[in-house]
Every structure is written in C-alpha cells, then in structure tokens.
Symmetry: C2
C-alpha cells in the first residue's frame, strides 16, 4: 500500500469514531478552533509570508493566497457560524411500522470521508474542515501547492484542538504532492465516499474525468435572463444590473440577456445601468442596432456564436433578440448549464411556463439570479452550488454532506 | 454525430415534452400498455420463440429469456401496479418566503433521460419503461442481444400506445449493438442524466469503470448476521433460515453468519433448518468443531479466507466465531458491501450499538435481511437496492428517479 493509502485507511477508521460523536462536542470543537486560529494568528501570518515569498507580487494568485488579520478574523467567524448551525445528523427523515410489526426509520448519517480538491485560497482549508466536521465527516484536503505551508499551519492548530478534545486527529488530513496523489485520492473507492472539486472549470473537468469516487460538481454557471414582451422596464433594468455586476466573478452572474423583439425599443434603458460598471456588451445584429448610439461605443461589440453559451466570470454580457418565449426557451435549453435562469415578465402565464419548462437548479420569475446562494436561501453554510441532478441540486447546505440509513427494529420478523 | 447520438438527441427532446405531461395521462398510457401487451401476447410469444431458437435449451439463459402467457400476465399486472402508484412528480418538498419577499419552493421533477443496461430478461424491458415513464423520464434501454427481438416486440407495442395518446415515441428507445454502443450510452453527458446497470457484478463493475454519466449502483450484497451472546435461539434459527434460503440468489440473502463464542454450543440448533435446504456451510475452526457430528458431514467444509466477504448468491454460507460484539463490528466493517446487516440479540444496548455503528443501507435488530425490499418497505415499485451513499441508499422507490428544482417567484428582488 502507498503512503497515501495508509493515511486514507486511518482517515476511514477515524470517520467511524467521528460518526458517533455527540453534537455538543462537535460544536465545542469548532468554537475552540475559531478561538485558537485567532490566538495563533501571528504564527499563521508568518508562515503565509513564506508561501507569498515564492510568488511574484504581481501574480494573480498573490491576492488569493495572502492572509491578513482581517481574513483570519473572517475565517474564525465562519467557523463559529458553522458551529452554531443546527446539526444535519440523526434526523429521522421518515418512520413507520410495517404490517409485520417491523419498526422502520430512515435516519440521516454522515457520508464518511470527503475528499476536497481546491486551489490556492488557504481560507478554504478551514472552511471545508468545518463543513465536513459539522456534518460528521472526516475530510482529506488537497490544496494548491502555493498555499501548502499556510494550509498546514491552519491544520496543525485544528489538530491540536482535536487532540485536546480526545478526538482522533486523522479526521482531517492535508495531503501534498502533485497530480498522482490527487488522482489516487479521487480513485480511492472504499476509502473515500465523495470528492468535491472547488475551483475553476479546468479543475472541475479534470476531477470529473479522472475520479471513480462519486463527485459533486459545483459552480459552472452559464446564466440567462429573458426579458418578455410585457415587462416593467425600470424593474427589469435594476434586476439585470444586479445580476451582472453584483459579483461578476461568481457562478450565478448573468451571462446572456435574451430580449423579446417588442422590447428592443427599451433595450437602451434596460442595459443603461451596466455602462456605469463598464460592462462590455456583445450584441447580436438586432440588439446592436437598438443599442448603437445609446450604449457607450467603446463598450459595444457585435456578438459571434462563441459569445453564447459562455460563462464570462467578468464584466461582459451577450445580448440576443428573440421573437417569442418559445425561442427563448429553446436557446436556454440548448446553452444553459442548468444553474440559474430567469424570466422578467408582467405576464403570469408566461412566467409559469418558463418556471415549468426550463430545466435548471433554480428558476426565477422577476428576480435576479445572483440570489442563488445557500446563505440567501436560508440553508446556513453553503457547501457549493451543485449543477448536477443527483443527490443535491442548486445551493447545497450541510445536509448535502449526509446520506441516510434505514434502521429496522424487529421482534423476529422474516420474509414471507 | 453518430447514429446513436442522433437517437439520444431526439430522446432528450422528447424528455422535455414528457416532463410536462399530466399525471392522469401517464396513468392512462401505462394501463393501455398493459392491456395491449396482453392482447398482443401471441405476437410477443412468437418472436420470443425466434430468440429462444438461437439458444441451447440447456443454456442457463434459456429460462430467463423464455416468455409464457403467465409471464406476460405478470408483466401486464406490473405495469398496472406502477400506473396506480402515486406520482413522485410535482411534490413541493419545501417552501418558504425569504425575508426579501421572494417565494421559494423546491419541487420534485424528472431526472430527464435514464439509460438502463441490463441482461437477458425481456420482462425488464417493460418494467424499466414503466418505472421511467411513471416518474416522467425518457429511457434508453440496452438489453442483452439474446432477448433483442422479444424486447423489440414489447417496445413496438408500447410505442403504438404512445402514438395513440399523441406522445412523442422517442420517450422510450431500445438500442442494439455491442459494447461500443453501450459505452457511447454511458458517456453521453448532456444527453443522458443517469445510468442504471441491472444485472450481475460483472455488468455493474463494467459500467462503473466506463461511465462518465452518473451511475446508481444496485444489488451487490455481502450480507452478515451476528448472533450475540444473549439470544432467543429458536427465533434466531428461524431468522437465519429465512435470511439464507428464502431467495438465495437475491442480493439481500445472508452470506456470513458471525456467532458469539458463548453461542457456539447452540450453533447446531441455530443452523439446523439450513440442512433441509442442503445449504453448504464453510465454517472456521471453532464453528467447525461445534458443528461436526451435528450438521450433515457432506454439507460441512472448513472455511478459508476467500469465503469471508464473499457474496454467494447460492445455498452456501460462511460461519465464523467471534469473541465479542467489537470483533463482529470490525469484521462487518471490513467485509460488508454496505447493503443489509443484522444483529440477533436479546440485549437492547448491544442492538442499539450495532444499529448505530454498522455503516450499511439497512441495519436490522432481530429480523431477517431478506426484508430489504422496496415492496416490503412500502415504497411501491422497486427500482433496485442502492449500495451507494449518494442520491439514494437501500431500497429505491420511484422518487429515486426524480431530482428537484428550486422555483423562485419574485417581485423585483435583487442581491444586496
């Protein structure tokens, strides 16, 4: 067995102990971790400087990797918030007595061991541990190598708290190494129950292609908003502005605006607020004509096929004119990544048709897709936004990190 | 695009129409299919004879492939039963109004397109169509080539009924071809939402290794029953007999009996009923000594390592003596396929420890593992018994073939 194989075997064993830990203990450990991370922040910051010294300050990684006192306070606050959430474990999801007298109940339990593969933000290290631990799961973390020392410093502090509470410290393991270790982790069937990639589309598709352990995919969002013939233009303009500019790098940000041809005359008003944020618009022929001499020329470009079905993650927007709701639905069903889709319309019937016919994790009538978020949805902590259909779809709370088991209490029942 | 690619594209399109079909129509179609299959049974039987004529009557496939009037009646009865089940669709799983006024609800919807890869039983063809259709899913069926004509005859009749109801007949497609087509089906990301293999362990592991579409694994059962120190021996003997002999080829059948050493003296009574069914016992040294001169010598053999952690699917049983509950739990956690596991004990504390600590889809106290079944559990039709932790675990009803979507009805809400 490889060295990593031995580590994973120990993590698996620790996960069986963790599954039996009382809720109050889990809460206490997370709170103590928050306190310890703040108390030992100077040690973390010193090690973070070592990681940073290996990067050019101009590197785009620099800002993501850099920790500050404020960021450590945020990490600690995150741990406390997760500590205080209701436990997703030991919920009786259903129960009944069968005609033969067997007492059957379905109870939520941890998945077991979760592997998380992520990029260079060291704050993810603490965040993922807290989400996994709160839901009774051991976790194996494979972060970016640029952040390895910073992440190791955080894990060292967490393990100290675990030991103080008499908990097997293998419930969290940070692994190093390159692609070979990452692949071994995603193929450790029987030792690892779930892999979650957290990062860009390259990382996600790499994990999807190589994993044999089940994967939850998160975060790919090709997001559309359709402006119907009959619409409150001022409200629509506010929603479009928010959907595009509130967090342009987030997966729930608007990518393609579809406009009913009857609203082409109002298109300049619909997109006017975007100019303030210097949003570049890629417009199809009809919407280009509608916008020319209204939208700043330096921000207006003709659209080509490559601009549709594309996630920009930037202050860029594709705009397309459609003849009717059917054409909008066909465009969305063809190009959507099934994350979040919206219709803006004063016509109730059209709204309901859109909500029924669009196949996506979240469908909106007259609201901004930026609302797709675990916190906004009231799910407590957000594990991610799933773009798959199995297990969990859309914003995932802690319950997405649990499975269930059927518990059957009998008095001698057999099968007839 | 390949020919199969074109078919899958049309199936995907048909699934969008199917998702909008009213519940009453789905029910009516399934009932009409049941009537039509019975009415046209002579055509099906004639074609089945053609399939059978290609096999040796002595082949083990023969009985599984052979259709009779009785089997067609059973198929029709199965369709009617599924027709009458409550629809798993359009259930409001939760709903709330957010502080900003957004009305949010989570509603069950079909997965979309389900691919099923199975072996030579033509009755699976009708059964899988009915389960998929009842849950609003289009399905693509890849059956064994020995049953190809029989399955095609069944699908032809079903499609006639679909057309009569004005439903796109692409909602069910039977595909032929070899491994290359099967692989194309399991890698059709974006066109197929789920693959379910139905068949033996070879088929299941082949699909698991080659699929990039999400898979639900069903049916691998390495099943244990532990007899504790303090137990009702007569009741335990009945449960063991039922667990092993009720349906020995089923995944929920007992494979390994673990016996507390204090019960070795009662082991002859515990396994006595098994001799009537000619069950071969592979016993470890201590249990062999306890059974010698009690259990028929021609049915008693010494166990080796290969007999533990093995699914027999036959009238064979491994028996092992353990010193205590801890040893039993360790053995189970090492060898279990996490399907169904049982403890037989008069000690409540030990029962509860077993139910909490064993990580399996179904855990039993004082009952037979043969009860692991969708019908027995009251789930209506059984889609299979999942041995995985994500999405669905244990006996799966129709709701395992659904996902959900979040529907958000707004009045101009944006993200702050």
């Amino acid at each position: 067995m490889t060295k990593l194989g031995h580590v994973l075997t120990r993590v698996r064993a620790s996960s069986r102990e963790l599954a039996l830990l009382p809720e109050a203990k889990i809460k206490a450990v997370l709170k103590d971790c928050a306190i310890a991370l703040k108390r030992e922040q100077s040690a973390i910051l010193a090690v973070n400087q070592q990681d940073l010294s290996r990067l050019e300050p101009a590197s785009p990684l620099y800002a993501r990797l850099e920790l500050t006192k404020e960021k450590i306070s945020d990490i600690a606050a995150g741990l406390k918030q997760i500590a205080n959430l209701p436990s997703p474990l030991n919920r009786i999801l259903e129960s009944r007595t069968l005609p033969n007298g067997l007492k059957l109940s379905r109870r939520s339990v941890p998945l077991g061991v979760i592997g998380v593969i992520y990029e260079s933000r060291p704050n993810v290290t603490a965040d993922v541990f807290a989400l996994a631990f709160k839901s009774g799961n051991a976790c194996v973390l494979k972060g970016g190598k640029e952040a390895q020392r910073s992440s190791a410093a955080i894990i060292k502090i967490i393990k100290k708290i675990l030991r103080r509470h008499g908990i097997n410290p293998y419930v969290v393991e940070l692994i190093s190494g390159g692609r070979s270790e990452a692949q071994q982790l995603m193929r450790a069937r029987g030792l690892v129950d779930l892999i979650i990639p957290r990062g860009g589309p390259g990382l996600i598709s790499y994990v999807r292609d190589h994993a044999t352990v089940p994967v939850i995919e998160t975060g790919a969002g090709v997001v559309h908003t359709y402006v119907d013939a009959n619409v409150n233009v001022a409200q629509a303009a506010r929603i479009i502005d928010n959907a595009k500019t509130n967090r342009p790098a987030a997966c729930n940000a608007l990518d393609t605006l579809l406009v009913h041809r009857a609203q082409l005359k109002n298109l300049p008003r619909l997109v006017a607020p975007l100019a303030r944020s210097r949003v570049i618009i890629f417009a199809d022929a009809k919407s280009y004509r509608a916008l020319a001499s209204h939208y700043p020329a330096e921000l207006l470009r003709p659209a080509t096929a490559k601009h549709f079905g594309r996630e920009f993650l930037a202050l860029q927007l594709a705009v397309k004119s459609v003849d009717n709701l059917d054409e909008a639905l066909a465009h969305i069903n063809r190009h959507s990544s099934q994350h979040s889709e919206a219709i803006l319309s004063a016509d109730k019937q059209n709204c309901e048709r859109f909500l029924a016919e669009v196949d996506a994790a979240v469908v909106y009538g007259n609201a901004a897709t930026t609302l797709s978020d675990g916190g906004v949805f009231g799910l407590g902590a957000e594990v991610g936004i799933s773009t798959q259909k199995l297990h969990a779809r859309g914003p995932m709370g802690l319950s997405a990190l649990t499975t269930y088991k059927w518990i059957a209490r009998g008095t001698g029942q057999i099968r007839r």
